[in-house]
Amino acid sequence: MLRYVLLGLLDAEPRYGYELKAVFEQFLGGTWPLNIGQIYTSLAHLEEEGLVRSQVVPQGSAPDRKVYEVTAKGRKALSAWTSTITDEPVRLRDELFLKVSVLSLKNGPATRELIHQQRIAILSRLRDLAELQDLPENHPATELLLEAAMLRTEADLKWLDAVEARLKDGGSDG
């Protein structure tokens, strides 16, 4: 998937490697850590496949820079990717779902305690996200990510409410 994000960024503006890394980080608010080596490896693959081409730009006294731009073939690949409808299975792989599910087998006080503590922890994440949303320098794409993260965090809280209500209905510990 990384390759398409890089293609998209280069399609918006040709860049040299370090610049692309900086733009990538700003674009996703640093939520996808990459080192410069990974960027150059991806660029090399893209160039081999003819999706980008590079041009050496002399920098006077500084070392020359290789500037990458998207080819017509690259633009076609990008648009094929972006126009494919995403319909992935819902991913509930995180630990919380499994922990609560395991505890629900017994429905004792430990379940309720976990739900209570977890609710506080998730609310704290929501507080962090709300603060980050208030920052003035967010990239527009980061704003979209923040919105998604907040909605999902709210969903986690609602899920805990739902689990608690179910346990209460069928609870054995009063």
């Binding site: 998937m1 990384l2 996703l28 608010g29 640093g30 939520t31 996808w32 850590p33 209570h116 609710r119 506080i120 609310l123 704290s124 994440r125 929501l126 507080r127 962090d128 996200l129 709300a130 603060e131 980050l132 980061t142 990510l145 923040l146 993260a149 907040m150 965090t153 709210e154 809280l157 609602k158 409410d161 209500a165």
Partner: protein
């Protein structure tokens, strides 16, 4: 404009083992609140959350001296509510409390301007004293151009903003709001929330009942009620985390 609402000593609100029971069918009484201990400091911004029927409105009504505990004690501004007569309680509400109701509670026959001024009229203030303040508040809530509309001519969000303005007319040190954004869309809800945050910034104590986690996340402390009891409270956070620590967008 930060006003000093903190001259009096002690917390703004204090609940000491508060119970509120309603006579039920036959001998069974409903315990709407079942032993609540909580202290809310002056200038605090607190959210009260919990499932439907957990006692949130009951707690807020007691905090606003709209209701009296069956046993235990509620202190508002250091005054024990159980020791006050009905008239004294009304005086206490006028002095200390601005209340925003879950269902707006505007008078349908009155205009927005008249609704906002109503608590001042009831408190026997002279109309000349308050008319400037009414206009100021209508302006603050962004309804200067709707001042002569009746509630039926206003949207839900506008009615709720009128209700917030009305709660502020006597400049209370404590603002209590029951689901103030419950029936509103996101944008109107944000506008009402901003008003409450501004109340807090101005130095007031603000308690807001909400089921909206986003609103809770904007307060300093959240009190969770469950079956009439405080199930949990979150502690103030040490520090906030950077985005990269709470969000991961990398794919394999």
């Amino acid at each position: 404009m930060v006003k000093n609402y903190g001259l009096a000593v002690g917390p703004a609100l204090e609940f000491q083992n508060v119970h509120r029971a309603y006579a039920g069918n036959g001998a069974v009484a409903t315990a709407a609140l079942d032993g609540v201990d909580v202290t809310i400091g002056r200038g605090e911004l607190v959210a009260v959350c919990g499932p439907s029927g957990s006692g949130k409105s009951t707690l807020l009504h007691l905090a606003g001296a709209l209701d009296v505990a069956t046993c235990g004690e509620v202190l508002i501004d250091g005054w024990a509510v159980s020791g006050l007569s009905a008239t004294e309680r009304a005086g206490m509400r006028n002095r200390s409390i601005g209340f925003v109701f879950q269902s707006f509670n505007l008078l349908p026959g009155l205009t927005a301007r008249e609704n906002v001024g109503m608590p001042a009229v009831l408190a026997k203030r002279k109309p000349s004293e308050i008319s400037g303040r009414v206009d100021e508040l209508l302006d603050l809530v962004g309804l200067a151009d709707r001042a002569d509309h009746r509630p039926s001519q206003l949207s839900g969000g506008e009615q709720q903003r009128v209700a917030v303005a009305r709660a502020l007319i006597l400049d209370p040190p404590i603002v209590l709001a029951d689901e103030p954004t419950g029936n509103l869309d996101t944008a109107s809800g944000e506008a009402v929330l901003d008003l409450l945050l501004a109340c807090h910034d101005a130095g007031r104590t603000v308690v807001v009942v909400t089921h909206d986690a986003r609103i809770a996340a904007r307060t300093q402390r959240v009190i969770y009620l469950r079956d009439g009891r405080i199930a949990q409270q979150d502690k103030p956070r040490q520090r906030s985390r950077p985005l990269a620590a709470i969000l991961d967008t990398s794919t394999g």
